[in-house]
Every structure is written in structure tokens, then in C-alpha cells.
Amino acid sequence: MTPLLAQTEAASGSAEFWVFIVIGAVALGSALSMVLLRNAVHAALMLVVNFFAIAVLYATLDAQFLAVAQIIVYAGAIVVLFLFVLMLLGVAGDQAFTGRIAGQKTTAVLLGLALFGVLAAGVAAPFLGEGTACNVPVEQRVDAEGPLCEGLAVANADGNVRGVGFLIFTDYVWPFEVTSVLLVVAAIGAIVLGKRREDPGELTDAPASAVPALRDDDDDEAASDEDAAEPAAAGASEDDEEGTR
């Protein structure tokens, strides 16, 4: 075992360490196969396995609420909707690989690497430099020059669920609300786009006269339609009479 691994094991406890090794491997393997599998449904299932692995990692970090929210929201709702769409469209095998944009692969790789770099920097930043590791117990910290993070015991003092709730609705209430507005806008947009209308004018709140290109004055049109149709109806009734005679 390398010194780094031994140090990590000593800091986090043996059971947690080995859970991390096993589940980390599962998470990586499922993530890779999710990208590489050609069958869309199998890829979605690998995504579920990956979400579960990450939920287990959250749970080992004592973030119970995050773990169960991960399962309910991602594994339970979002991937199920993916599967729903895949099943409705009947996508199988190679059909998913049609319709590529030019240069997609290169762009995807570059953007993926950039995202990875940003995330790695964000996760690693608290642990870089001297005296910044968060695994120091609160009592041992030097008050003035201590690390930025308080440690799990302080964060979970009132229980994990209460802690998360308190943070979301105090310090992070603004990002939280902005995110929810974003989601609502996306949902409404999806509904508007998904709802098929014969007449595009019905999608707007503007009065009918404001959309002249799409539709003439409503009442006149309807009236003229009716006028045009009535003689036909009368003619038909005469036909019927003749038929019965």
C-alpha cells in the first residue's frame, strides 16, 4: 500500500476505506460502460448503477439525506423518464447513433476534460496547501488560522437532515430559488413545445388581431364558414328526403 493510501485509511477508518475502494470501482466501471455500451436501455441502466454507487459513497460520508435524495430524484425519477422515452420511441441498437453533428466527438472530449478539471480543482482545493485538511477534530484546531471547513461533527450536530435543510433555506436560499425557477421555466417550456396545436396563434396571449399572418378575425371567419356550410347541410337534407322517397 502506498503511503497516501495508508494515510487515507488511517484517517477515515478501515471499513469506510474499503467500501470506498469497492464502490469507487463500481462507480467508475458503470460510468465507463454507460458511455461505451451501444444499447441505449443498457446505458441507462448503467447510469442507475452509477447513481446507486454514488449514493453509497454519500452514505459512507454520513450524508444520509443526500444519499436518499440521490436515489429518489435521479435513480427513481429521472432515469425512469429516460427509459420511458426510450421505450416510447422504440430506440434499439445503433439507431441512437444517427444524426451526429460535425466535430461532435472532439468537442465532447474537450468539454468533458474541461469539466473534469474544474470539478477536480473544486474538490481538491480544500486539501491543497498546508494545514488545510478537514480531518482535524474541532477541538484540535487553532482558532485563528484553522482550516476553512468545520468538520462533520459540527455540520451534523443537529442531525444530517436538519443541517441540510438549515443550509438550503438560509445561506443557499438564493441559488436554491433560482434553480427552482429555472426548472419551472424548463418544465413550462417543455409543456408548451410538446403540446401540439393546429393553430400557432393559440400559443400566445395576444388578441387574435395581433397575429394577422396566422389568423384572420376570428368571428368573421367562423361566421363565413357557417354560411358556407349551411346550404350544404340543406342540400344534404333534401338528398336524404329523396333517398327515403
Binding site: V68, I71, V80, L83, M87, E230
Partner: protein
């Protein structure tokens, strides 16, 4: 954790699991007998007294049957689906307290397998995972009826999970905790000295919401559309046989037991009841198990009762009920509950009266809104139909007798029109 802890924990886990399996087996038999009574048949009565061992015989038969692998199935997924279905149904039960607590030496043990802080969110997580068994079974069978059943079940489960979640959330807000043990503890004692302090009294609407959604989640009649045999042969289990079929079967019935148990825990005090001075002993804990079992059996009977009584809902009605009735009313109820809790927390005195007044007001409001929704729907439907007809009339082929008569009366006045046969 020493040997004593380890031994007692293992005993509790094994005992709880045995209780669950036993309840499921008894339920399968009991449902067949009770539905038979409701339909004036006899039901299984050959194996064991009153046919009570019928389930064992059926289980043995199913596990020794030939396991058919149809052509065109997606093998791995076809194999995983029943396992997922049964496993998830078994896991849900872990967080439910099924008995009182007792002390051995200086340590206290509770008859509950796992009491995490997230508590009953675990139920929600597992029921949202439970849909995978059905979806994957439908897709991997490579056949159209299972696929339709799978798609239906996905839509149904996702719709009703919202209602179920709202029912849970209002109880969480009311009690102030997600933990099963705290929810049960909050329901000990009495209202006005005689009525047990169960959540069902202040949270009646949440109970209706939750139980309705639980029936839909367990896919029992009248919400058993994923396997509607009249339309879909047997839905997602059409292509399954032998042990895999048995797993789906077991998972569905376990779901009923679990949902009844969750209902009892949330709204009917779980294992609480009069203990006659046995608190803290093993006998007292087992008496709690007895109370819990009796309450759970009542709700299992309600499941059977509904199956024996109600016809299956039409699919669009099912969706309407979930999205247009349960969801908005559930949101209103959660808001009302939160308001009451907030007022109780901030105003020290006269809190009970204020709370009761607001609950009453919210109830009246909900009733009015509900009545308004009903009425507007009742009025809107014929009105819409008329409107559509009026629009369509000029364009429609005027072949029907009615159109002819109308046309005639408008133009020719009193001319008689005979209806063509």
C-alpha cells in the same frame, strides 16, 4: 458491539423478516379466501386446515416449473427484472418498527431492523426503485403487451409517487421528524383523554392521499392497469414463468403488506397500544408486535375489500385523479399543515384553538375547491362537447338524421324529414 448486541440484532432481523414472509404468505391465502367469500365461491380449501397451506404448495409448484426463456428477450435485463422487483419489496420493510422496545441488562433494543435519520424517506426511495422491475420486465420481454404494461406502469408510478410524497411530507412537517421511531413516539398518548393521539385525526386528508397513492403504487385494484388482463393479457408478466413469475407475484403481495405497515406507522401509531405495565420487557415488546400486526391486517383487508368491490379505472381517469385531484389538493394540504405548525411554534398560548380553527378553515377551503373542481368539470364536459359539435357541425358530413332535421327546420320551416333507416 459485543456478542450480546450481535445476537439480539441478528435475532431481530431474522424475526422481522420471518414475520414479513409469514404475513405475505398468509395474505396470499387470505386474499383468495376473502375474495372467494365476496364472490360466493369457496376458494382454496384442500391443503391444510381451511386451505391455509395453499400458498406453500403454489410456491413449491412455481419454483419447480420449467423456466421458459422466450425468443427475442434481452437476457440480462429479463433476468434482473424479477430480482429487482422482489428485493426492493423486501428492503422497504427495514425501516418500519414492528414492535415495542425492551431492555436487556442496561441496554435498550427496539423491534426494528434499522432506524436511520432519513426514516420513511427510505420507503419513498424504495418504491421509486420498485418501478424498475416492471419497466425492465416490460421492455426486455420483447413483446408488445408487456411493453405496453411497462409504459403504463412507469407513468402511473411516477404520477402517484408525487401524491404519496405529499402525504408523507405533511406527516413529516406535523411530527417534525423523518425518523420512524420519532413518528411513532409522537403518536403515543391521547387526545382529550380518550381518543388515541394518532396522526390520522389531525392528518385525515394526508391519510386519504397516502393510502390512495399506496394502492396505486402497489398496483392493486382499482388501479391495477399495468397488468389489466382484459387489455394486456397479463401486462409485464406475460412472458414470465416459473420462479421468475413467483418473484413478481411475491413482490406485489409484499408491497401490499409493506404499504399497510407504512400506513399504520404513519397514521395509526405503529406498535403503540396499552401495555398493562409490561413496558421495557420482552413480553411488552411482543405485545406491541401484536398491536402492529392487528392494525396492519385491517389495512390488508381494505386492499382485498377494494379488489372485491371496485372495477378497474379507465386509464385517462387514473391520470386525471393523480395529476388534477391528488396533486393540487395535496399541495394545499401541505401548505395548510405547514401554516398550522408555524403558528403553533410561534404562538405559545391558545395554540390548540388557533390550530384547530385553521385546520377547519383549510378543510372548508379544500372542500370548496374540490366541489368547485367537480362542478366545473361536470359543467365543462358537456359544454365543451357542445362547443366542439357546434364547431364541427358545418364541416362534418351532414349525413346524420339530426343534422338533416336541423338544416331542414332552419331553411324550410315545417317540412317533415323522415329518418333514413
Amino acid at each position: 458491539m459485543d456478542l450480546q448486541d450481535f445476537g439480539i440484532t441478528v435475532a431481530i432481523v431474522v424475526g422481522g423478516f420471518a414475520l414479513w414472509i409469514l404475513a405475505t404468505a398468509l395474505f396470499i391465502w387470505g386474499e383468495r379466501r376473502m375474495v372467494a367469500k365476496m364472490q360466493t365461491r369457496i376458494g382454496p380449501n384442500r391443503i391444510g386446515p381451511l386451505g391455509i397451506l395453499q400458498t406453500v404448495a403454489d410456491g413449491a409448484k412455481l419454483f419447480f416449473k420449467e423456466d421458459i426463456l422466450p425468443k427475442g428477450v434481452d437476457k440480462v435485463t429479463y433476468f434482473v427484472a424479477p430480482i429487482a422487483s422482489a428485493t426492493v419489496a423486501m428492503l422497504t420493510f427495514a425501516v418500519i418498527p414492528f414492535g415495542g422496545s425492551f431492555t436487556v441488562g442496561d441496554r435498550e433494543y427496539t423491534l426494528q431492523i434499522w432506524d436511520p435519520e432519513i426514516g420513511l424517506l427510505w420507503v419513498l426511495a424504495m418504491s421509486s426503485i420498485g418501478v424498475y422491475g416492471i419497466v425492465l420486465a416490460g421492455w426486455s420481454s420483447g413483446s408488445k403487451y408487456p411493453l405496453l404494461g411497462g409504459v403504463r406502469s412507469t407513468a402511473q408510478m411516477i404520477s402517484y409517487e408525487l401524491a404519496m410524497g405529499l402525504g408523507l411530507v405533511s406527516v413529516f412537517i406535523w411530527v417534525g421528524s423523518l425518523q420512524a421511531s420519532e413518528i411513532v413516539a409522537a403518536q403515543s398518548g391521547t387526545f382529550f383523554g380518550s381518543i388515541p393521539a394518532w396522526n390520522v385525526f389531525p392528518q385525515l386528508f394526508a391519510f386519504i392521499l397516502f393510502f390512495g397513492a399506496a394502492i396505486a403504487e402497489a398496483q392493486r385494484p382499482p388501479f391495477d392497469l399495468p397488468e389489466a388482463e382484459g387489455e394486456l393479457v397479463a401486462g409485464f408478466i406475460t412472458e414470465y414463468s416459473g420462479a421468475k413469475f413467483a418473484m413478481f407475484f411475491l413482490g406485489e403481495f409484499m408491497q401490499v403488506v409493506t404499504m399497510s405497515a407504512v400506513t399504520v406507522t404513519l397514521f395509526f401509531g405503529g406498535p403503540s397500544g396499552p401495555l398493562f405495565g409490561l413496558e421495557g420487557t420482552l413480553a411488552g415488546a411482543l405485545l406491541g408486535t401484536f398491536y402492529f400486526a392487528v392494525k396492519t391486517f385491517v389495512f390488508m383487508f381494505v386492499f382485498v375489500w377494494l379488489r372485491g368491490t371496485l372495477p378497474r379505472l379507465r386509464y385517462d381517469r387514473l391520470m386525471d385523479l393523480g395529476w388534477k385531484v391528488f396533486l393540487p389538493l395535496g399541495l394545499l394540504w401541505v401548505m395548510a399543515t405547514a401554516a398550522v405548525v408555524l403558528i403553533q411554534d410561534t404562538l405559545e398560548q391558545a395554540q390548540v384553538l388557533t390550530g384547530a380553527g385553521i385546520i377547519l378553515a383549510a378543510l372548508v377551503l379544500i372542500l370548496i375547491v374540490g366541489a368547485f373542481i367537480d362542478r366545473s368539470r361536470g359543467e365543462a364536459e358537456p359544454a365543451e362537447d357542445e362547443g366542439e359539435e357546434a364547431e364541427d357541425e358545418p364541416l362534418a358530413l351532414p349525413s346524420s338524421a339530426e343534422t338533416a332535421r336541423e338544416g331542414a327546420s332552419r331553411h324550410g320551416g315545417a317540412r317533415q324529414v323522415r329518418v333514413p333507416k
